[in-house]
Subunit: 236 residues, 2 copies
């Protein structure tokens, strides 16, 4: 039993923090009064307090109370007793390092397997895959492992970006990077465009939002996947 | 004594591989007949042979012979006996993993300290910094450390990209990422735009090419640095 929303981004262009997802979140966290927020990814290096406040304000509009995981003396216990959990975006290397350092990673994996409602955005979505090997982030700290929660049997690439055909910049495209990943790793990768999310309920994994997603495997060219597709059907 | 060219990119938009650098390289490798090429970064996952062939063709036009490091039975010896060394771009995580796996990393550091002429492009430049923590690449493999050669007393960000003010994409800008890096790491970072390179001769580090570079430190806002600046003057 799993019950997750795995979102590409927290914020759409010209939108406010989480606003496009709030109707969905109201439903997702319907039976949850309090949500534990994991602020470890610290976007732009902001403090745990400041980041938690941002999440608090957004969830306040749908009547949910937010507690920052850093506010618990024992963060493992904070996870174990949580009614709902939200991991915000930022830097995935930092997030994963902190999840290992605090030993929250195993508690989180166990907890999510019991069906506790979870929301991840960006880095918080990345960690739902088998590894963090398809993050877009800069390796600002060295985590003890790239292994992540494995809540879905593939890897996530959030903020998926199509090649800019007008660009004169010679850095690799996202698709090139993911193809490089597949030279060394067997698992499929889903590129989630901004505004897309995966709805994981039990064994079902459904693509949500208005946009298509891009699905990469080792042995075939990448394909476009329509909204409402059950991603498990691609795994055979 | 160090003698390095640390280039942002191998290839300019609408240019051929290394062509913009060839006049400089002819001079840099003037006393060198044979150059050992380190193909470990494997851009796009191409083979060591295919990548070495690409370097061979470019250096052939200035009369230099290329040998791939993978062609040596003992790659450490290959480095120790090299007259000149070139590390090509690709994936920095893969490059650093292979440098550690083959134990070439220490031999390379020792060798470059003796003044052997070196060229790095992109990932091959990244490794000249203190750590690989400011690479733009995807973490497709897990290296045993992010520590790199430390040929300059700061970190390199190749392919430095200015914020795209027209973009609707919500991923972080390069500047945001480097500022995040500075929340956890003390060393300065130089953002080298495509077409720029550092010329390291002994203790002197000069910015070359037509473009300015961007210099990031922990305690002041980033500044623009003119070509021909001696980078050591920024370190005080």
């Amino acid at each position: 039993m799993r019950n997750l929303i795995i979102a590409s981004t927290s914020t759409l262009h010209q939108g406010d923090y989480l606003d496009y997802l709030l109707p969905e979140l109201k439903n997702h966290f319907a039976s949850t009064e309090t949500i534990v927020f994991i602020p470890y990814a610290r976007p732009g290096g902001i403090s745990h307090d400041a980041y938690t406040e941002k999440a608090r304000q957004a969830f306040n509009t749908i009547g949910k109370k937010i507690i920052g995981l850093h506010e618990f003396t024992n963060p493992i216990e904070g996870i174990q007793k949580a009614e709902g959990i939200f991991t915000g975006g930022g830097n995935t290397f930092l997030l994963v390092s902190e999840l290992y350092r605090t030993k929250v990673i195993d508690a989180l994996e166990e907890k999510l397997k019991t069906g506790t409602p979870y929301l991840g955005t960006s880095a918080g979505s990345n960690i739902c895959g088998l590894t963090m090997g398809t993050t877009n982030d800069m390796p600002i700290v060295y985590p003890p492992s790239f292994r992540t929660l494995g809540m879905v049997p593939f890897n996530i690439n959030p903020h998926y970006l199509d090649p800019d055909t007008n660009s004169t910049h010679m850095g690799e495209t996202r698709e090139t990077r993911i193809n490089e990943f597949h030279q060394f790793n067997p698992q499929p990768v889903i590129g989630l465009r901004e505004g897309s999310w995966l709805n994981v309920k039990g064994d079902k994994i459904i693509l949500k939002g208005n946009l298509k997603a891009r699905w990469f495997t080792t042995n075939r060219p990448a394909i476009e996947v329509d909204p409402e597709t059950e991603i498990n059907t691609l795994l055979t």
